[in-house]
């Protein structure tokens, strides 16, 4: 009951936090580095959404976009490093 009261009116934030937690656990449990990246992508979505929901300020749009693009670029760099040499054109 206490939890229900806590998330009343904050359901979108609770969904973002819950999905982020699930994604974080799956990142840890997945063994293959390349297959960790889609889970990490979900975590990025959840955090970017939480930033916008927690900070109702116009600059929060910039913060969420910067965080998300940054995390995508990192995933891109990790995946490209793993692909290096094997499938370079």
């Amino acid at each position: 009951m206490g939890v229900a009261c806590l998330i009343e009116g904050q359901l979108p934030l609770a969904v973002c936090a819950g999905v982020g937690l699930v994604a974080a656990i799956r990142v840890v449990l997945e063994r293959s580095t390349l297959l960790k990246l889609p889970y990490l992508n979900v975590l990025g979505f959840a955090i970017a959404g939480s930033i916008a929901l927690l900070i109702p300020h116009p600059l929060a749009i910039l913060a969420a976009c910067a965080y998300f693009v940054g995390s995508t670029l990192e995933s891109n760099a990790i995946a490209s490093t793993f692909a290096g040499g094997r499938d370079r054109e």
């Binding site: 359901l11 889609p38 916008a52 793993f82 692909a83 499938d87």
Partner: protein, 161 residues
Amino acid sequence: MLIEIARIITAAAISWALFVAVDLVFRLPERGGVSGARAIAAAVAEKGGSLHGGSMMGNIVCSPDASAGTLLAACGVAIAGIPGGLAAAALVFIGNRICHDPGYAGTCGAVLATGVITAASYAGLAPEDFIAGMVLAILSIQGLSHIHASRLLEKLWGWRA
């Protein structure tokens, strides 16, 4: 509480359909745009998934696509209305260029999502519902089962191609 849950599930369904449709129109499953996306596609295919579905998942990971555009447009509209959504679209465009993505799926998705989310707000769906909905939609593609998600995307790509 139940109404809130129903709103989020409706928003998730709308954003899922929107981002998958835009990604298919921009031919994301055809091939990985960068070498990293191709490596992720190969890893998914190796585990029993499909290559085209894996390519789309790799492209989603490696560059902000329509799914990212939908999420960030929802964030923008939630905070600052239509100008916020368009600002998010501009930032997604910059993000695409930073990630060496030659396509316009992310920018186009963000602009379309700004329109859809604004229209849905007249039907009682808040932009906040779309933020949670988009997070659930991406969980269904990237976070539950890579094998089944890639096969589903391959099937949808078969209809498109």
